[in-house]
Amino acid sequence: MDRRTAVAIGLLAIVVAALIPLGIRSYLLREGINLLVVASLAVSFDFLRRVGLVNLGHTTFFGVGAYVTAILIVRLGFHPLLAIALGLVGVVVYSVVIGIPLLRLSGGYFTMASLALVLLVNRLAFNLKDLTGALRGIQLDNTIGVLESYYLFLGVLVLIILVHYYVGKTKYGVGFASIKHDENVARSFGVRVQRYKLYAFVMNGILSGFVGTLYVLYLGSIVPDSVLGLGITFLPATASLFGGPGTFLGPLIGALVLGFIDSLLATYVGGFTLFLYGFVLVLVGIFTPKGFVNAFIERFTWMPSIGTIKAPIDED
């Protein structure tokens, strides 16, 4: 499959996704929006994996973006567009302030410390009552309609995929891949390892923070659990790991599959969803530790050229 075919398939997928709302009811459309949000977060999660780091606190960017936007609109009466822009600024500040100390750790220790971020930001959302309204949350007056939101988040997903793809082609993408491959070799060839890691971290933050700023406008209200709760915290990360690293395809398909399973379980099974969800994760972890989609691509040799949509240096 050459480049032109890949682009054609991608465009076809976008058209199909754009036509979906015409045929389904609005509560299903909400599930569709959730899928798009999870997929956007999962693809942006892959950014930091390009430098070989797994950031379990990834959704705190999403939460910070959402909260800053909501606070600016409701408490200070800002125009939504200005609030979104300033929400992004807030996410950048947050990711730089957190990123500099955290990125001093490597490998598993970075992952451990990043898990702490989830609890820290979640607690802050509860404790800073005057700003966040704690459990009562913040209510927005005007929100985006469901149909408009669907197209908005579809656009955001496509944008994030394009950013993910094209950053891989720049010198930064090459730098990220070389850091993942071997940090010391990368350093000896003049890659500024710490600075590049921070770039990846901030990019990670901007992309998922952007999704967060829009998500709060769609939801119309915000409480700690809606942007920082257990479900939304681990879904993008596990979806991205489920799919496998390297291309945007892994996280994208992982998010669509896992998000679909998740909403199916929530609709038809009810209370016991986390068990079945966990069971899927365990199976994937045992049988395809490098990701489901990557294993699939390895298995079916007619697909390998999709594998070339990745950073010029092969990761493994």
């Binding site: 797994v54 379990l56 957190i98 500099i100 100390p101 955290l102 001093r104 750790l105 490597s106 490998g107 598993g108 220790y109 992952t111 451990m112 410390a113 898990l115 702490a116 971020l117 989830v118 609890l119 820290l120 607690r123 802050l124 509860f126 404790n127 257990l230 681990f234 990360a237 596990t238 790991l241 489920f242 690293p245 209370g271 016991f272 969803t273 986390l274 068990f275 969800y277 966990g278 069971f279 899927v280 994760l281 365990v282 994937v284 972890g285 045992i286 049988f287 395809t288 530790p289 490098k290 990701g291």
Partner: protein, 299 residues
């Protein structure tokens, strides 16, 4: 008066820190030896507490020593569970992962934590549970201390001494530390790596369960307790010093004491955040942690 109150808060913090220390040491040992980050460790703590609660009600005796005696069968049971998890879940994925264990470890242990949490909620208990013990208080230099908490502190200290002896003086303990320092070297001198990894997973799970026993004795625990707790434990491990068991102990006490101090002076809502602020502060000043050395993989 005020000073006495602060001292009482301090004692409570040391007890909390001791519980953190037991659980965190287990997690640190497992990560050091198997390189498999166990996000289900906090859930193991919860299971240990749950078993204590169930067995205590089953025995029906109100004697104070019963929950402490239950530690032994519970630790043995959880040792078995840990070895089982290692054999059934960890080893098959290690074979397929070819080196990088972080991502499969997150998937598998997070999945396991979700499964155990929902199983507990669905089939056992869905509320907070605990054994509320009150044995009265003693006065030491004007300090009013709860007897049950003093006994718990003593038992934690005893467990820590036994663990230190085990890791420093016995063959198995030395082998565990050796594997976490230099895997190839230990294989070269004929230590059976597979057995040591299974055994360490068992010991780590037992320590988690013992911590759970103490938590149930002094406070309450809930089925959702696992993931937030494991976040605190990994914070303690990182801030104490990467791969240093002494550091883990000191970090645990530091976090326990600061939590109760902040809870007392600023407000209970802020005490769960303390560990994370300390972590970020320490990473700025000393990225390798309080007791960490530049070489990361040392005990």
């Amino acid at each position: 008066m005020a000073i006495l109150q602060v001292l009482e808060v301090l004692v409570g913090g040391i007890l909390q820190g001791g519980i953190y220390a037991l659980a965190a040491t287990g997690l640190s040992l497992v990560y050091g030896v198997t390189r498999f980050l166990n996000l289900a460790h906090g859930t193991f703590v919860m299971i240990g507490g749950l078993l204590t609660f169930l067995m205590f009600n089953f025995v029906g005796s109100e004697a104070w020593w019963v929950p402490f005696a239950l530690m032994i069968p519970i630790a043995a049971l959880m040792f078995g569970l840990g070895v089982l998890v290692e054999i059934v879940l960890v080893e098959p994925s290690m074979e397929r992962a070819e080196g990088d264990l972080l991502e499969p470890a997150i998937l598998i242990t997070l999945g396991l934590a979700f499964m155990l949490r929902d199983l507990t909620r669905e089939f056992v208990l869905s509320t907070d549970f605990g054994i509320s013990f009150y044995l009265g208080t003693v006065e030491v230099f004007g300090l009013r201390l709860q007897i049950i908490k003093l006994i718990a502190m003593g038992m934690i200290g005893l467990t820590a001494i036994v663990l230190t002896y085990f890791l420093r003086e016995t063959y198995l303990g030395l082998a565990i530390r050796a594997v976490s320092q230099n895997r190839k070297g230990t294989m070269a001198v004929g230590i059976n790596l597979e057995n040591i990894m299974r055994f360490t997973m068992g010991i780590g799970s037992s320590l988690a369960a013992i911590a759970g026993v103490f938590i149930v004795i002094v406070t309450v625990i809930s089925p959702e307790f696992g993931l937030p707790f494991v976040a605190k434990l990994v914070t303690i491990i990182v801030l104490g010093g990467l791969g240093s068991l002494v550091g883990t102990f000191v970090g645990a006490l530091l976090v326990g004491v600061s939590e109760s101090m902040v809870g007392f002076f600023i407000g209970p809502g802020w005490s769960p955040t303390v560990a994370y602020f300390i972590l970020i502060g320490i990473l700025v000043v000393r990225p390798q942690g309080i007791f960490g050395s530049d070489r990361q993989d040392r005990f």
